[in-house]
Amino acid sequence: MRGKNIWWKAYVCVLAFAFVCSMAFLTDRPALAQPKEVKVGNILPLSGPSASVGQQNRQAQDMAIEEINAAGGIKSLGGAKITLIYADSESKPDKGVAEAERLINTEKVHVLTGCWNSAVTYPTTAVSERYGIPFIVPVSVADKITEQGFKTVFRIAAKDGWWVRDQFAFISDLQKEFNKKLSTLAFVYENGDWGKGMASGWKTLAEKGGYKVVMDEPYPSTQTDMSPLVQKIKRANPDVLLLVSNAADAILITNTMADYKVKPKAIIGSGGGHADPSFLTAAGKNAKYLFDIVEWETDVNKPGAKEINAKFKSKYGYNLAGESVDAYVAMYVMADTLERAKSLDPKAILDALAKTKLTKGPAMIVGYDAIEFDATGQNKYAALVMVQINDIGKGMERISVWPKGARRAGYKPVFPIP
């Protein structure tokens, strides 16, 4: 009987000791009470007409998140790992809105990002604003996305107003450099938010610059035949053709223009479809001499850019495009924000986002030198580069030509198109 009692006391002692230990353990490490995971809702067009770019965005973001998590996650949150929860918008605004509601209410995400298509991002940001969830927009460039007075929307890419500004600066520099007058312009653009936004910017600048607009034509991106449009361009006979296209239509227009032998003095794309890696392979030599405006090019002269592109290429088999870079960078901006927010409270994240001042790390593979947001949530420093598609002995490639400081050494742009 006595022996049994001792064992009993010993057991109670051990139990008490264990209890105290575990209490001490708990109070010592508050991190245990913190969530081990940051959930990020990512709405992208993973099927439908923009599936190609949607996948590229996804791959760039997956790579960034892998790197961030492998480097120890968010240290100020006890090494919390970031999880991307994907939702497919199919490029449809209503689908994007519904998915945002689902991600916020059901998945309880802490941050939203996406949606690539401006037309999807625009209504979707209204959902995140209503719930007060931070929304990081990597690439949707429609001006109005950051001009809604929302406090939850932050955009990495230059807005389309700036794209337009730089395209016209390029047109005027081109005339000076080659001493050739360009007087007539044709605008051809997809009839979504993005195309229309760009075109309204072109109209104002064309008026200011004294250019004559000989054609102003929206077209549906789903058009199965571009020859009517190309015939119209041919008959309008512009000096400069400005385009806003998604991938399928960019390829089709370029090939059809070659068929009908339409040759304006310069053709200027607006990124998007023209920057899609499959554009170069599918349009081939028909794309020769086309100018395109982009956020980023593989020959950009920034530390780390080459290595990150090489890693991406070995992983997925093609080069990073400007939009993938913005998508990649957005993940590092988010990681930096979470690090400083030290909390998953949306308010804290929003405050940290507004105070972003990123000047180093993998995010700085962009062409400019810092990421900071202005009062509307727009990245103030985002800047653009003009490239020309040409074959200088290594197959078709995109060569940086403007601003002159960023031009690839030894390259002289071909203008007008021979």
Partner: protein, 295 residues
């Protein structure tokens, strides 16, 4: 004036390819009385088969028909036999088997996403084929040679299908099934086999349409969606089940797209096409050559 003539001819050429794409849909509808929502996907499969046939064998795109047509016929035949037939049997007492329509929608999604998985989202086209970028210059007018080939392919296909359904025993058996499947069964016709054949033929025609598109068009997983709605409009315009109607309906749409685009934005020509579609639904729901049948 020359511009309008040029646009009209180009419109007819492209339109006949639309018509060819719609012909498979109209064959399947005519026999099964089922709107095949997977038709665009069948067209997409046809384009991929043609693409790989040309890439791997280096054949002239139109010679690849010797591969594409049998492959697509078998694909359609077994798609019907394995996936759609069981649903048909379950619904055999119903005059218009609605669930089959839903199944075809499922097939559409499965095929599109499968090709996204297998082939990836890239846009492909055949860079050096003998037809690519060829233009014919007639009196200052530029006509696309690959589309001209497509035009003749459409005419021949329409003629061949018409001949098959009118002149051959099997064709007549399929038609008998389409008119009254009970009565046809009583005559000893195996209606399910006829259905298999009809879907096989419709799919093979989608394959021919794929071949005619491949020399100048992009190939990507959701390419069918772009043609889907157009095909439905064409089929309604021309009359459900009518080959000539599909061809004419396609040409009407092609001409509207080409000529209309010179006077207004391309967005508007699309609105006009849908407008005409609505007018037809109101005034002549059976289409140009459709038979108003009521059994």
């Amino acid at each position: 004036m020359r511009f309008i003539l040029e646009d009209t001819i180009n419109g007819i050429l492209m339109g006949s390819i639309y018509g060819l794409a719609a012909m498979g849909l109209t064959v399947i509808f005519g026999v099964l009385k089922v709107i095949n929502f997977a038709h665009g996907s069948l067209l997409m499969v046809g384009m991929y088969v043609a693409y790989w046939a040309v890439i791997l064998t280096g054949l002239h795109p139109y010679l690849s028909l010797v591969i594409v047509v049998p492959v697509m016929f078998l694909f359609g035949y077994f798609l019907q036999d394995i996936i759609i037939k069981p649903i048909f049997k379950a619904e055999k007492d119903v005059r218009e088997p609605i669930t089959v329509i839903i199944v075809t929608t499922g097939v559409w999604y499965i095929l599109d996403n499968l090709s996204l998985l297998v082939f990836g989202p890239q846009y492909r086209n055949i860079q050096d084929n003998p037809l690519r970028g060829k233009m014919l210059e007639v009196g200052g007018m530029l006509l696309s040679v690959p589309k001209l080939w497509g035009f003749f392919a459409a005419l021949l296909t329409a003629g061949a299908i018409y001949w098959f359904f009118q002149m051959t025993r099997t064709g007549r058996a399929i038609r008998a099934t389409s008119l009254d499947r009970e009565a046809a069964s009583l005559q000893g016709i195996n209606q399910y086999k006829m259905y298999n054949l009809a879907v096989g033929i419709g799919t093979a025609v989608a394959g021919i349409a794929g071949v005619s598109l491949v020399p100048f068009y992009n190939i990507f997983p959701s390419v069918g969606v772009l043609f889907d709605i157009k095909c439905f409009i064409i089929v309604v315009l021309g009359g459900l089940g009518s080959m000539g109607g599909a061809l004419l309906g396609g040409m009407i749409i092609g001409v509207i797209e080409h000529v209309g685009a010179q006077f207004m934005a391309a967005t508007w020509t699309e609105a006009i096409v849908y407008g005409i579609f609505l007018v037809f639904l109101f005034l002549k729901p059976s289409g140009l050559f459709g038979v108003k049948y009521e059994w």
